[in-house]
Symmetry: C2
Subunit: 354 residues, 2 copies
C-alpha cells in the first residue's frame, strides 16, 4: 500500500466562475451589486496594520457582540465563521453525528451533499414537488438532522415561518438547520424559533445582503448550548479563523442598518422589474425571495442561453443536472446590469427590443 | 435518542491566553514583536473596499504566486490556507486517510492529537528522548503518515536536514509532513526534499517570522499531485477561505525579503542573549532554533514562575502535562521585553539584579 492509497479522494464542489476580466456583467455568484457600507471603508482606513503581528481574538468577540446586539441576542447565542460555508460545514460536523440519514432537498445548495460525503454523514435527498417547492410533510420521518435553505437555492422560493416551524416541531430529536443566506431579500427569518426550539439553528451570511462576500463572514444563531458545542469543534479545528481585519470590518458593516436596508430594497425592486420583463419575454420565472431569479424558457435550452450570454460577457449560472438543466439562475445586479442582460436576451430570442 | 445524542462532543484545543489589557508583556503565543512589513500597511491603505462586495479568488492566485515565486516553485506546488492550522488540518484530513496509525512526537504541537481525534485518525505518539529530541529511528515502522514540527514545539530543538531526509526515506509509503512554523529562526528547511520525495509536504506560516499572525496565512509546499488532492478537499469544505484583504496583504508581505531577514536576525540575537541570561540564573534552557525558548529551573516549579510572572503582567506559556510541567515556553520579544522578563525572574529568584 503506497502513500497514494492513504490519500482521501473527493470530487470537489465547483464554485461559479470568477472571471478575472473587467467589463463583464457578473450575475453568476449572487454577489451584491452595491459596495459594502461606507463604514467598512472607514474602518479599514483607520485599521492599525501593526496590530497584525498579533493573533486575532479567537472568539471574535467584537464581531460576535455586534451581531448579537443587532438581533437582540446574547453573545453566547452567536457563532461566527469564515463565510456561511465554514459555519454550515462546522454545523454539519458538529450536529449531524449519528448513523441516521440527514434530510435535505434534492434541488438545493450544492454544498450539502459535498459536506455529507466529506464527513461521511449518511443523507437522503428529498425531492421538491413539481413546482420546485419543499413539501414539509416529507420531512416528518426519523432522521439524523435536517438542513435546508430558506429561501431555497437555486429556486428562490420561500417557506413561510409557520411551515419552517412545523418542520422544526416535527423533528424534536434532531438538529434542524435553516440556512438563511438569502432571507434579507423578502423572507421572514426563523430566528424567533431559536427561543421556541432548543434544536433549531439559523445560519446567515454577510456575503449577499451585506455586500461583503470578499470579507468572508457567516454566522449561526441558536440556543447557547448548541453554540457551545459548535465552538468546541471549531476550536478543535482552527482557533483563529477570523482575521483581525475581518472582525473589525464586519462589526462596522452590520451596524449600518440604514445602508443595508436601502441596498436590499433596491435589489428587491430590481428583482420584481426583472421578473416581469423576463415573463414578458416568455420565460417561466419562479417567485423569488432572494437576490436571484430562477428562469427557464420553453423555446430554448438553458445551456444555449447560458453560452450565448457568455459571448456577450454576461455570466449567469447554469447546471447540467437532472430537473433543472433548462433553468438559469440569474443574480440580481443593478438596474443597468439587468437592462444589459434583458437586451441580450431580447436579441437572442429575436424579440423586438423595447 | 434526542438531538443531544447526535451532537459531536470534543475536548477543544485551548489556545494560549489572549489577554485584552494593554501594558502587558505578551510572551505566550510566539507572536513576532515587530510589526509586519510596511508594505502590508501600504497595501491595506490602497485596498479598494468596494471590491469586498465580490467573492475572493478561490484559488488565491495572487498570494499563491507570490509564495511560489519567493521559493522558486511552480504555483501548482503551493497550497494556502487560513493559518498553518487550517493547512495542517486539511493535510491530515487529506493525507492520513488509512487505518494505520499516524506517528508524531509525544511532546509536540498540541493540535496534532486534537485533529487526529476530530478526524478519527488512528495515531501513536512517539516519545522524545530524555534530552527532548526526536529519535529518527523510532519512526521506522509501518505507519499511516508522519507529522512533526521542525524545529519542534514547545522545545525549539532542531533536526538537521539529513535527519529529516532519513525519516522521509524511511516511510516511502506514507505522506510525511514537516511543520516548519519556526524554521526561519535558524533552521534549515526541508523544502528541497519535495523534489527528492513525492510524499513530503512542507508547511510554513506567516504567523511567526513574517509578523502576521493577525492575517491568518499558512501554506503547504509539495509535489503538484499532493497539492491537487489538498485543493480538492479544501474546495469540498469551503471554496472561499482567504478573504480579499488577506490575499493582497499576504502577497505584499512575502515580497519584502529585506525586512523579513532583519526581523528574524534581531529575534535570533535576542534569543541568544536571553538564553545566556537565563542559564546564568540557573535555568536549564534547551538550544532553540525557534522564536521561543523552553526553560526550567531546578529550584522552582514551572507553575509558580508562570503564576508569578502573571502578577507582573508578563504572560508566558506553561502546560500541566507529563514530562514538561517544570518547563516554561517563553516567546522571544524585543530586547526591552526580555529585559523586563529577566528582571522579574531575578526578583523572583532572589538573585542580585544585574
Amino acid at each position: 500500500m503506497g502513500f497514494e492509497d492513504k490519500i482521501r479522494r473527493v470530487v470537489p464542489y465547483v464554485p461559479g466562475e470568477q472571471p478575472k476580466a473587467d467589463n463583464i456583467v457578473k450575475l453568476n455568484t449572487n454577489e451584491n451589486p452595491y459596495p459594502p457600507s461606507p463604514s467598512v471603508r472607514e474602518t479599514l482606513k483607520r485599521f492599525d496594520a501593526d496590530s497584525l503581528r498579533l493573533y486575532p481574538d479567537p472568539a471574535a468577540s467584537v464581531l460576535v457582540h455586534a451581531i448579537a446586539e443587532y438581533y437582540g441576542l446574547r453573545d453566547e447565542e452567536v457563532f461566527v465563521g469564515v463565510g456561511s460555508d465554514d459555519v454550515l460545514a462546522m454545523c454539519m460536523m458538529t450536529f449531524f453525528n449519528s448513523e441516521m440519514p440527514v434530510l435535505f432537498p434534492d434541488i438545493t445548495y450544492s454544498f450539502y451533499d459535498v459536506w455529507a460525503e466529506l464527513f461521511r454523514i449518511p443523507y437522503e435527498q428529498i425531492p421538491l414537488d413539481d413546482a420546485f417547492h419543499i413539501v414539509p410533510g416529507d420531512y416528518l420521518k426519523p432522521n439524523g438532522g435536517i438542513i435546508f435553505p430558506n429561501p431555497n437555492a437555486p429556486t428562490g422560493s420561500l417557506l413561510p415561518l409557520d411551515t419552517v416551524r412545523s418542520i422544526a416541531a416535527g423533528s424534536p430529536d434532531s438538529v434542524v438547520i435553516v440556512d438563511e443566506a438569502y432571507v434579507d431579500f423578502g423572507g421572514e427569518s426563523a430566528l424567533p424559533l431559536i427561543r421556541e426550539f432548543p434544536n433549531v439553528v439559523v445560519v446567515q451570511t454577510f456575503s449577499k445582503s451585506r455586500s461583503a462576500a470578499g470579507l468572508r463572514i457567516g454566522y449561526a444563531m441558536a440556543d447557547a448550548s448548541l453554540i457551545r458545542y459548535l465552538n468546541d469543534v471549531k476550536y478543535s479545528f482552527n482557533s483563529y479563523t477570523m482575521n483581525r481585519l475581518t472582525i473589525e470590518a464586519g462589526a462596522a458593516c452590520i451596524r449600518d442598518e440604514a445602508y443595508f436596508r436601502s441596498c436590499c430594497e433596491k435589489i428587491m425592486a430590481t428583482r420584481e422589474r426583472t421578473t416581469a420583463a423576463l415573463r414578458d419575454m416568455g420565460f417561466r420565472v419562479e417567485d423569488s425571495a432572494a437576490n436571484f431569479v430562477f428562469a427557464s424558457h420553453p423555446g430554448v435550452m438553458g445551456r444555449y442561453i447560458f453560452e450565448y450570454l457568455k459571448t456577450r460577457n454576461i455570466y449567469v449560472r447554469w447546471w447540467d443536472k437532472p430537473r433543472i438543466s433548462s433553468y438559469l439562475r440569474i443574480t440580481i445586479g443593478t438596474d443597468r446590469q439587468m437592462d444589459i442582460l434583458l437586451d441580450a436576451l431580447r436579441d437572442y430570442l429575436g424579440a423586438v427590443p423595447s
